[in-house]
């Protein structure tokens, strides 16, 4: 943990309003903040971009949103690629110097997270500055943080945020297995789910209280169907394969094997046949 600045984004509290993406544009499009940043193009580039994720199939569908911005990495590839044009401030924010980086198109590809954009008109690689020009002038937090309606964004030193960071994860770079020590942390990014609704096709009623047993290797999880006959297994590891057994008194047990939640799985309305 350090006194370097970090972002912590709680995905479970992100409503997908895009205020962060829009406030970033409000700050940087058609505004010149030299020597920190030249203007961001009006459209097509996103120093902060919200990525929507649609999960599941009807009616077991959920959305979550991942705001992506410069990670202000402790081991920043852009600084390696252009040591003269990219610098790190004392507070940890990584800045592309617009004067020195002009013409350096290679910087765009140097970023393992794909968050550096090429400004054709200015012949310039550009990205999030952490609103350093505002922080240096007494504004406590970057625009994206300030604009968030649900406090999903936190900004502070790693020391201040250490309890949240302990629970958080970072985004995977485009080339996996490289570690850049990013300083944008995420909480509660959903993993895979397996869900369904259990019903009795004869009485045409949901089955409440059915025991759903999910197994994978030696691990197992149990969920009891709720008042709507629903079961949800959440935060499953997408690369693993799962077996599912649904049992209820008076019904023939139903089994599913080798379920792989690479994409979230909705088993739909699952009929349970009564025992003879």
């Amino acid at each position: 943990m350090s006194e370097k600045k970090a972002f912590v984004i709680d995905v479970a509290r992100c409503s997908g309003c895009y205020n962060c993406q829009l406030a970033c544009k409000d700050e940087y499009c058609d505004n010149n903040w030299m020597p920190y940043a030249k203007p961001q193009p009006d459209v097509g580039q996103f120093w902060l971009r919200v990525d929507p994720h649609e999960c599941g199939t009807i009616p077991k569908v959920r959305m979550h949103y991942i705001p992506r911005l410069c990670n202000h990495c402790d081991d920043a590839s852009c600084m390696v690629a252009a040591p003269d044009a990219v610098y790190r401030r004392e507070d940890g924010l990584v800045i592309i110097d617009p004067e020195k980086a002009t013409g350096n198109r290679a910087l765009v590809d140097s970023c393992p997270y794909g968050v550096i954009y090429w400004n054709e008109e200015l012949n310039l690689p550009q990205k999030c500055t952490g609103c350093a020009h505002l922080l240096d002038n007494g504004n406590g937090v970057p625009r994206c943080v300030e604009a968030c309606p649900t406090d999903a964004f936190k900004f502070g030193t790693e020391t201040e945020l250490k309890e949240l960071i302990a629970e958080a994860e970072v985004l995977q770079p485009l080339q996996p297995k490289s570690d850049h020590s990013p300083r944008v942390y995420y909480l509660n990014i959903p993993k895979g789910f397996i869900a369904g609704t259990v019903y009795d096709p004869v009485d045409r009623e949901v089955v409440i209280g059915a025991v759903c047993l999910l197994t994978c290797g030696g691990d197992e999880w149990t969920v009891i169907t709720d008042d709507y006959g629903d079961f949800w297994f959440e935060n499953l590891q997408q690369e693993r394969q799962y077996d599912l057994k649904i049992e209820s008194t008076g019904f023939i047990t139903k089994s599913f094997t080798a379920l792989s939640p690479v994409k979230d799985i909705n088993l739909g309305d699952v009929p349970l046949d009564r025992k003879a």
Binding site: R13, C14, S15, G16, C17, Y18, N19, Q21, L22, K25, D26, C29, N31, W33, M34, P35, D42, V43, G44, P52, E54, G56, T57, I58, P59, V61, R62, M63, H64, D74, D75, M79, P83, D84, V86, Y87, R88, R89, E90, I95, H133, L134, D136, N137, R143, E146, A147, P149, T150, D151, T197, Y199, R204, E205, V206, I208, D227, Y228, G229, D269
Partner: protein, 907 residues
Amino acid sequence: MEGNTDTSMSSRRDKVDIGADKQVIKGLSLIGTAEAGSPAVVDVKNGRITRIRPLDYEWKYDKQDFNVWKMEARGNSFGPPMHAVLGPIMTSYKKRVYSKNRVRYPLKRVDWDPNGAQGSTGPGGRNTQNRGTSKYVRITWDEAAEIVASELKRVGTTYGPEAVLSQSDGHCEGKHLQSARGCMGRLLSLLGGYTIQMRNLDSWEGWVWGGKHVWGCEPVGEMTPMADLYPDIAQHTDLLLFWGCDPETTAHAINGQMASRLCYWLSEIGIKSVYVCPDLNYGAAVHADKWIPVLPNTDAALHLAIAYVWLTEGTYDKEYIATHAYGFDKFQAYVLGEEDGEPKTPAWASEKCGVPEWTIKALARDWAKKVTSIVHGNGGPGIRGPYSTEPGRLEPMLLGMRGLGKPGVHQAKMIEWPMFTEHAPLPYQGKIQPVLPHFADIIPPARGLSGQGLGAYTPKPHTPELNEWFEAAGLPPTQFIPKCLVPDAILHPPISWWGMQSFFGPASDQFVKHTFPREGCSEIHMVWTDSPCWTTCWNDTNSFIEAMRQPSIECIVAQHPWLENDCLLADVILPVATKFELDDIGNDIGSGVFTSMYLENQAVDPVGESLGDFDVVIKIAEKLGLRDEVAGKLTSEQMRKLAFEWSGVHNLVSWEEFKAKEYFVIPCDNEEKTPGLRGFYEDPAANPLTTPTGLLEYSCTALEEHFPDDPERPPVAQWIETGESHDERLSSERTKDYPLLCMSNHPHWRMHAQADDITWTREIQTMKLKGPDGYMYEPVWIHPSEAKKRGIQFGDLVKIFNERGVVLGGAYVTERVMPQVAYMDHGARWDPIIPGEVDRGGVINTLTPHNIISKKATGMVVSGFLVEVARVTDEELAAWRRDYPEAFDRDYDLATGVSLSGWLIEP
């Protein structure tokens, strides 16, 4: 990696100047006419807007001054943040001010000659048939004012002053001094009268024409009073049914995003959120514990099946019904099938509403078991669909079966928190509600008719100076036309209808019949609009376009900040300044954070030659020798001070201090209120509803008396499969050609017609999809199974169509919408290929039903109707390009969409 750490930060710090030449406060609600809304701080430098940020309430005060409100439940608490919570349109509103779509100077339609005779075509003619096709030339303010003034005189002399139709209602920026609505009424009144377009109750149709007959709840038929609903819900409710409610959409541009924070908290304290809607709307997408998809406008079938389960299983509150209800036996007989031989079972309903029988039973039983409230947020097909009176009545009837008004059992809203209620549903929201006078009288009732216009927000008595101002334009309009019947009034006069003599009239008004034209009055020959969004917001708008192209409509004048929608039908277009360009005074009574009032100083100079809304009218009044009568004697500074002195805030802070600090937070009030309809619950005799019996009317006594045999709105609410007015069900013969039910929500990225041109929201895929031809199309949501049947891929150029027209869109193939449904938001800007037939901009309302809710319910139908969706083939597009080259050759700005340059003929 410390090697290239910057060590010259202090020098850098000196070089950049983030500061502003000035900072002003602007309220950014787009509801208009009611309030200015969530306050933002606007930084201005070198005459340009630099940034827009939420107001930090502690900027010039200590929070101790606010007596901060808080609600507590289940060991948890919820209160306001110390800053305004802006919505995304508010955050990006700078783009609206500087839009390439702004009207920068007065415009005249190039082939409209005011000297032409009625019906004249060609050079020197009026060429009304070319409205929506022909472009515009720049004229001077003097020319524009002269043309409008002489047309007003000529039309008045030829036909009578009431031949001028004033369209002046609906949403807009929240302005008070230069009210964005109604300014022309003052001049038209001085000219001897006019015809007013009376806005139908578009946001609440089913509640108004149905719900009010069950539970009163004037003026719009949603549950009132709403005092302290959320503290009561937080403490007592276990299950919230978000019924067609999207708390992450409709509140965004009206109130901001406090609803979002509230939804997260209600979930955190363990209250279950079940969303019942055809789409996984934006609220359901992140807040729902369960989504129950229901086919558009079939909620009434689901309601009836739930009642069936409760009746047959004996799980409703029989004691409450015995003391609080009238006519329950008739309802029970209908549900059980004793009248029509058709019990309204879950199996019966499942066929109609698309919810599995077992899920209907599960919902009914869960609802019976848990303390439940229903939540709404306006919009959605249930309340704006064909026969919306039926779900609008059945919902309060179901709530009655659960003991409406008892702890935790309410209908609550995620929007319009300050409206129609003395005390807000969030607790302790300010000791007073600072209401500000609008300096225009908005949709006043016509001569001899009673009722309140949107002047409901300017109750009298005023101060003597304000009285003098308002009395200077004392004549009411001569006659009126309900907004949803304007095309019929022009195309097929005379017409008759029931009710709608005022916007917020009592239920009894619905039994009064009116006719247009009134005896001895003229038909319409001239239109003056300051709300030019009929085309993209109302019903069967291709018929409106047809009406506006009639030779009998000799002149159309539009005044608006942006060149959009109905402006493209106008002959003269007058440029209006946005609120950023004007001085004003504003109030936030609905954001739910704090109640506040603020001085809105001018941020930037007017764009182009635009003027304030009243100043536009004054320009014309000058030509008619009525300048002083219209302008009055008050300066804008006097108006601001008078408004302040009238608001009630003057009792809490001096004008001098308010003017210096530019905002004031009304201290919160610490008194607990009686929640919702608790009084009625506890003692219905002492606290009756406003229904004729004072009870919940399961058979509506006013309908029994006036329309006992109306098959489309019988005294007991029913399921209406089809009727004389509408044939819009999946059982219809029409499904042979139009097999999908179209739902059209209140738009996520717009406030109805407002803000379709913000370049930064347009690059988000749920707002616009880039078509193969580069055009930014309005998304059409369709389920993968329906897309597959039609060979449609995500992003394809598609057409959505029925007998009423064709609209182009981008295919948004998603699991977020049911099979058998097509979903397209309303409010996209009109970009006609063939005016009245084919639209490229995405105006779904051109396909909406022509007829009103039902024969005797004068509201509009804009969702829940039949359509088909198909890929647009290259040949089809090529044919349109060949046959209508002017529509495709118009300059189109890829980022902004429809822009001024596309409709302007440069000299």
